[in-house]
Every structure is written in C-alpha cells, then in structure tokens.
Amino acid sequence: MQFENNAVSIQNLTKTFGDHTVLKELNFDIPKGKITTILGFSGAGKSTLLKHILGLTKPTSGSIHVLGNDLSKLDEVELRGFRQNFGMLFQYAALFDSLSALENVAFPLREFSKLSKEEITERSAQLLESVGIQKISHKNLPSELSGGMRKRVGLARALALSPDIILYDEPTTGLDPITTKMVNDLIVETHEKNSNREMTSIIISHDVKATLKISDFVAFLDRGNIIEYLPAKEFANSTNELVEQFINL
C-alpha cells in the first residue's frame, strides 16, 4: 500500500542469522498518525522486524527510513538519541522492578529531559493519572501492582517523552478478557489523545478480533514477508489462504 506520509518505510529488507533467513526482501510502509497492526504466526519474524524499526538490529541488506531518517546513516550515538522518538510497551511491561511506579515513569524524563526534580515528579504523576493509576499506587513497586496496572504504568513510561511512534509488542497476550479489553481501549484512547500531533501506533499481535476493531491498517507477516496488507475493514475479506486460516483459528 502507498501512503502520503510514512512514519516507517522499509525497502528490500533482508535479515539472516547464520544461514537462517528471517526476513526476506521485505517492503513495508507504515503510515503516519495511524494504528497499524502486524499479525503473524509465532516465529514469523515480527519481533525481528520491530527491532529493525528501532535500530536495535542491523539489516543484512535493504534500507529502513523512520520519520524520514535513513537509519543506516546514523552512528551509534545518533541512533541512541533517535530512539527518543519511540515509546514502547513491552509484553509484560518490563518495568524496572527496583523502582516505584512513579519512578519508572520519571526514569526517561530524568535521563533525557531538562526538567527540574519537582517538574519531573509532577509530570510523572500526571502521566500516571492519565492512564488511570490512582495516587495511592504511585509509590508501589511493580511487584505490588496487578498485571493490568503494570501495563498502564508501562504505557505511561512509554509516553513520557511524547514519542512520535509508539510500539506495542503483543499488548494483550496472556491477559484475561477484561484486562484485554481495558488495554485495547487504552491503546485507542492513547492514540486519539495524541492524534493532534500525529503519533503513530504500531502493534504486534496475535489477537485478530481486537486487531480488526482497533487498527486502521493490518499487515500479515509470514516467513519473513508481508503477504497481506489491507485497511482493517477489508482485512476479514482477504482471499489469502494463510490469512483466512489465521483469522478462523
């Protein structure tokens, strides 16, 4: 698919580990300001693709542009700085377990912003409240929070530096149906709140039903290639055999 404004543009990306080709001549554009989901079976290469977008892994060949920047042109230090354009919510939130909820959110601000101590605390508290974490839980350690709350804190942390692109790695895998719904609502809500600054949301998921509901575009990755890429509304009507199989699982 072609878009006017790409957040991510990938051309002929190939990645091999040893003699195992994980991504093969992959072409993929992700539109700015939209929610795009990447579906695929386990081992299809989704996480590997995500790592390339983040510049954590170097391609064997091919090019990746993010927000107009050619990642291969950035050196190590520039690349690290560039990652501040990203926020990421990990599957199990990946909160720092020695820091409280508030300190977790404050972490990126402390490392990268020029705000004063008080401003950081205030901003972190605001962020936590915006994802529905009440004041009494701000001082709790991650081990004292439920799975759903941890996800919320992880999201607040991901949003701390107002990223241009937010990545969700299997945001609902392993959660109960109610928490799943909550997380999905939170993704949409977050996206809408940040739509004025055209934040792009990229999701990796196994959950077809929710994906079709919350996404604008859906791509299907199989054995290192995007074999289907459609607006979410049309995705259910895909005639691709594998996609049909995946949807009807």
Partner: protein, 273 residues
C-alpha cells in the same frame, strides 16, 4: 568371543564420544573466553563515556559492602585466630613462637585477606549481580533500557564492575585488620606471647610492599568478580532456569578466577614489588 568384541566396540565408541565431547567443550570455552574479552573491552569503552552515574555507583558500593561485611568480619577474625594457633604450635617446636605475629600478619596481608575476601564477594555479590541482570534480561528490562537509547552495559555493568573494583580492596583491608586483631588476641591473651615482642616482630618483618601486594591483588579480584558477575547476567537468555544457571556460573567462575589469578599475580608481583 562375541562379548569381547562388543566390549571393544563399546570402549571405542565411548572413547570417540568423550574425545568429541572434550573437543566441543574446548571450542565452547574458547568461544566463551572470546565473548568475555569482548565484554571487557566494551566495559572499557563505556566506563569513560559520560554520563557518569555516581548514584548507581554508590548504590552498588553500598550493596556489595553491605552483602559481605558481616561475613568478612566473622571469617576474618576466625582466620586470624586459627592462624595464630596453628603457627604457634608449629613454631614452638623450634622455639620461634615469637614469630607468630609477623607470620600471621604476612600471610593475611599477601594471601588470605585478598583471596578469602575475593571468594566471599564472588559468592555473595558476584552471584547477586548475575541474578539481578539475568532477571532484568529475561523480563525485557534490559531491552527497555536499550529502546530508551540507554546502553545497558554502561547502565548496568559499569557501576557494578567499578564498585566491585573499589570495594573488594577495602573489604580485604578490613579482613586484614580484623584477622590481625584475632591473631593478636589469641597470641597474646591465650598463648601468652609477650605483647611487646609480638608487635616488635611484626615491625621487623613486615613492610609496606606486603600490604601493597594484598591491595593490588584484591583490586584485580574485585574487577574480575564484577566483570564475571555482570557478564553471566547478560548471558542469560531463557527464563528463571537461565537465571539460576547464570548465577551458578558467576559463582563458579568467579571463585576459580580468584584462585588462578592469585597464582599469576603472586609470581608477577614478587618481581615488581
């Protein structure tokens, strides 16, 4: 007849198997050593790069000290006490029991304080480092750092390795002090060596070089224990099981390195100091 042949086949097969296993484990250790060397090089690259995170360093400094200090005090005093006893009864046979003080002091300063401190810290703090980093690895906290643009070696390994390098010689000095105190108590109070002679003989036979030798050794041990602890933390890949294995490896290799390095450092330092 048939049985004999079978047995021979079995022996040959076992022999081939065990040699190929040996080959495999040699290749693996060389490979591991290469990776460890690269890890050390990365440490030296990142340790000099700002930002310098003093707070993380002091946290680790406190953590390592706090984890080991009680055991150091306990094992230090008893080591000194038992040394005094053993040397006394040996030396008395040839009537040089007045030398208990310097012999204990020298052995503690050059060998026992740095080596035992190294072993204790490897078992306590080295293991804890591997467990902490390993847990962070499997729960994607290390990835979270990297995604934020923070180098995980700089953030996690640098403060721990630097803190261990600084802390182990301090703990070793404490071991030395408390060990000598134990030896002094046993020597002069229980074995009735004359107090003035005890100190005089130490002054006669012990020099600053001897103390330096211990401090240099302990510094190297601290560095290697920190490096090994953090390295095996980063090597963890899968699950809680992986964390356990990493912790175990950190302890085993930490202790082995202390003992092996001790020999080489001794033979090296004897020529220099």
């Amino acid at each position: 007849m048939e049985n004999v042949e079978k047995n021979q086949n079995f022996i040959v097969r076992k022999f081939v198997e065990s040699t190929s296993n040996l080959g495999k484990s040699i290749i693996e250790s060389v490979d591991g050593l290469g990776r460890f060397t690269r890890f050390i090089l990365r440490f030296f690259f990142w340790v000099f790069k700002p930002p310098y995170r003093y707070k993380l360093f002091f946290e680790q400094f406190y953590f390592i000290g706090n984890k080991s200090i009680f055991i150091i005090l306990l094992s230090g005093s008893f080591t000194g006490m038992v040394m005094a006893y053993q040397t006394y009864f040996g030396f008395k046979l040839i009537s040089v029991d007045s030398l208990v003080g310097p012999v204990t002091a020298l052995t503690l300063a050059k060998e026992l304080a740095p080596v035992l401190t190294g072993l204790i810290v490897a078992g306590r703090a080295g293991a804890a480092m591997a467990a902490q980093i390993g847990t962070m690895k499997v729960t994607e906290q290390v990835d979270a750092l990297e995604v934020m643009g923070i180098n995980s070696i700089q953030y996690l390994a640098v403060p721990r390795i630097v803190a261990a390098t600084v802390t182990v010689p301090m703990l070793s000095a404490l071991f030395l002090f408390i060990g000598n105190f134990g030896s002094y108590m046993v020597g002069t109070k229980a074995l009735m060596i004359d107090e003035a002679i005890y100190f005089q003989k130490i002054g006669e036979f012990m020099f600053l070089e001897d103390i330096w030798q211990g401090i240099i050794k302990a510094t190297v041990f601290g560095f290697i224990i920190g490096s090994i602890g953090t390295y095996f933390g980063f090597q963890v890949t899968q699950g809680a099981q992986g964390v356990g294995k990493g912790t175990n490896m950190a302890v085993v290799w930490g202790m082995i390195s202390v003992l092996v390095l001790d020999y080489f450092l001794t033979s090296f330092l004897i020529h220099i100091l």
